[in-house]
């Protein structure tokens, strides 16, 4: 059962300042691995075997570990985690954990840092007294807000939000999404939003990248991709979501099972499940092909047109 899993394979994208890129994909498509790798911390035992990452002009992977720690992590890029429940160390107060990077990177005293933490906590809509509380004393929604506060503590230009609302109730989810939206405008943040939920991406993202089997299969401005999806996977995915309004159409779904990443299919990774498959798909894998302004799709069909 051993083998090499290419969790993220040949992914390239760029992100402008003050925009939000949504990365969508189902479980196992490599989204989370991508998130951690952007920070230079691929989840063990994984390794980055190639490629480059530039953040704010700095080549992240060329830096030594120690340098990366001091210059990049949390200063240039911070993260809001999947499963915020466990993102906090249970034995330290929320305040300390929010303030820790300030003491570490900015040389604040504990008092100053905690003061800053109070401000931050207020700005994400929490009562200031949470800084003296322990993680287990907070509800899921409060914890998620605290995690966001922690991510903003050093005012990084880039924020990675990895499934920031999964496992939250809808009302809380809406509140957290509103908070992120507000912060994005107020703080001029660039955000990489990673989620399996296309609806959540629609709430926040300016651009969207759809991932399948460790690759980006479609990329573009969100309106373009949602209203005019060019990759069959994106098309099927969008039409598999039940809607809250309008006519009730029969839902479409993607037949078959997601590919095994140890032994991925030859050619286009999606071809075994694709309703439009033809010979070429089985043989070779297409590149990302420009199908519109800023709009790319990894599909042979797109090139035919």
């Amino acid at each position: 059962m051993r083998g090499i899993v290419k969790a993220v394979d040949n992914v390239s994208f760029s992100l402008e300042k003050e925009t939000v890129l949504g990365i969508a994909g189902e479980s196992g498509s490599g989204k989370s691995t991508l998130a951690w790798s952007i920070m230079g911390l691929p989840p063990p035992p994984g390794r980055i075997i190639g490629g480059r990452i530039f953040i704010d002009g700095i080549d992240v992977l060329s830096l030594k570990e120690e340098e990366r720690r001091r210059k990049i992590l949390w200063q240039k890029v911070s993260m809001v985690f999947q499963g915020a429940i466990n993102a906090f160390n249970p034995v330290y107060t929320i305040g300390y954990q929010i303030a820790e990077p300030l003491m570490l990177h900015r040389g604040y005293s504990k008092k100053e840092a905690l003061q800053k933490a109070v401000e931050l906590v207020k700005s994400v809509g929490l009562n200031p007294d949470v800084i003296h509380r322990y993680p287990h004393e907070l509800s899921g929604g409060m914890k998620q807000r605290a995690v966001i506060a922690m991510a903003l503590v050093l005012d990084p230009p880039l924020l990675i939000a990895d499934e920031p609302t999964t496992a939250l109730d809808v009302v809380v989810q809406a509140q957290i999404l509103n908070l992120l939206k507000k912060l994005k405008f107020e703080r001029k943040l660039s955000v990489i939003l990673i989620t399996h939920d296309l609806s959540v991406i629609a709430e926040l993202a300016d651009y969207v990248a759809v991932m399948y089997a460790g690759r980006i299969v479609e990329y573009g401005p969100i309106e373009e991709v949602y209203n005019n999806p060019r990759h069959p996977y994106t098309q099927l995915l969008l039409s598999s979501i039940p809607r809250l309004r309008g006519t009730i159409d029969k839902l479409r779904f993607i037949p078959g099972e997601p590919p095994d990443l140890i032994n991925p299919p030859k050619g286009c990774k999606f071809h075994p499940r694709c309703p439009f498959v033809f010979d070429e798909c089985r043989v070779s894998e297409p590149d990302l092909i420009t199908v519109g302004e800023n709009h790319l799709a990894r599909c042979w069909l797109a090139s035919k047109r």
Binding site: W36, M39, L41, P43, R69, R70, I72, L73, W74, Q75, S78, M79, F81, G83, N86, A87, F88, N89, P90, V91, Y92, T93, E100, P101, L104, H105, Y134, H136, E137, M150
Partner: protein, 370 residues
């Protein structure tokens, strides 16, 4: 902090129940099994007393008889042979609790023949030895366990696991015997009998009083003497304790290492050392304390017996001595105090646990419907 108080109150009640149960067991065993023996002792002592009385010409036979009866009654009270079995058990329990157990037949080292004195003397020495040993093995064990966890699968890691396995199947006291064979018999580096420390210290004191030593030299020599006599028992206990400390630390730290907050700390740019010793070890400390408390319950007894081998004048040696001399009361008192010591240690560890774990400290046990 209400949570902490409650946790400790519950813990205290539990400890008291355990102590009570053990006292009942010991006392009941005594009352039912040791009675004949004590009965015989009382009769013998009374006969002796009567014989002595006979020689006294100043007393009338009635007075003699009265005195003899009073003597016998007193003896019976002393040995707890008065009243119903329940009363006897109860009496013995109160006497055990207060250590009001009369005199032993033989003196124990520096102490008098009073059972209480002997127990206190032994307890003091046991505490000296085991506190030192625990401090040393904790520090080394945790550092070793951390290093093993950091390099899981390395030779060090395997060695730690193997050492833990070995040390959980080696009796402390047997290792003690080996140490004596190697370092006292073969190499002659350390003394056979640790209890001679008192002789050596007395000699030092005499030299100090005679003006042969200045105070500083005396103090240094005093420390050296203790270290010299304590070294072997200390090393023995430390060697066998490190393994379990290291192994427990390793396992818990390893399980914590995969938790999300560790990745969070790394992403925050916390230096790896601080991640390990600040975040991981701190978060791992409550379960480490719990497991160590549990393992102490099972190993401390064996460790205390180690004293027997080295002649360290603590509770362990007192077991040997009281068994050798057939001093049941002394034995019972010793067992009681050992158990008390255990319970206090475990209670203390639970206290530390409660302080280390905010979930206990702040008690947020609220109902969450599913």
């Amino acid at each position: 902090m209400a949570g902490l108080g409650r946790t400790l109150a519950i813990q205290a009640i539990n400890s008291l129940i355990i102590l009570f149960v053990i006292l009942v067991i010991i006392s009941a065993m005594f009352v039912y099994l040791n009675q004949k023996q004590l009965e015989a002792v009382v009769i013998e002592a009374t006969q002796m007393f009567v014989r002595n009385l006979e020689r006294n010409p100043n007393l009338t036979p009635e007075q003699k008889e009265q005195l003899a009866k009073a003597f016998e009654y007193n003896m019976r009270v002393r040995f707890g042979l008065i009243g119903s079995p329940v009363e006897r058990i109860f009496n013995l329990m109160t006497r055990l609790i207060t250590l009001d157990l009369g005199n032993a037949r033989n003196a124990y080292l520096g102490a008098s023949t009073s059972v209480k004195d002997q127990i206190v003397f032994a307890l003091k020495n046991t505490i000296i030895l085991f506190t030192t040993a625990t401090i040393i093995s904790t520090i080394i064990g945790i550092l070793l366990g951390m290093s093993a966890a950091r390099r899981a699968g390395s030779i060090l890691d395997k060695a730690v696991s193997f050492a833990a396995i070995l040390s959980s199947s080696i009796p402390f006291w047997w290792l003690g015997m080996l140490m004596l064979l190697a370092f006292s018999f073969k190499l002659g580096w350390f003394p056979y009998s640790a209890k001679d420390v008192y002789v050596a210290v007395a000699r030092l004191q005499a030299m100090l009083q005679a003006g042969q030593l200045d105070k500083l030299t005396y103090f240094l020599k005093y420390l050296y003497t203790w270290a010299y006599y304590m070294a072997l028992p200390l090393i023995t206990v430390v060697i066998l304790s490190i393994g379990s400390w290291a192994y427990v630390t390793r396992n818990i730290v390893l399980s914590k290492l995969t938790e999300d907050f560790v990745m969070t700390a790394r992403a925050k740019g916390v230096p790896e050392r601080k991640v390990l010793y600040g975040h991981v070890l701190r978060a791992a400390s409550p379960p480490i304390v719990t497991i160590i408390a549990l393992s102490l319950i099972s190993s401390l007894g064996g460790a205390i017996i180690t004293e027997t081998v080295f002649g360290w004048p603590g509770m362990g040696l007192l077991y040997w001595v009281s068994l050798l001399n057939g001093e049941a009361m002394l034995l019972a008192a010793n067992v009681y105090v050992t158990v008390l010591l255990f319970i206090i240690v475990v209670f203390a560890l639970n206290f530390i646990y409660a302080i280390l774990d905010p979930r206990v400290r702040t008690d947020a046990a609220t109902y969450t419907p599913r």
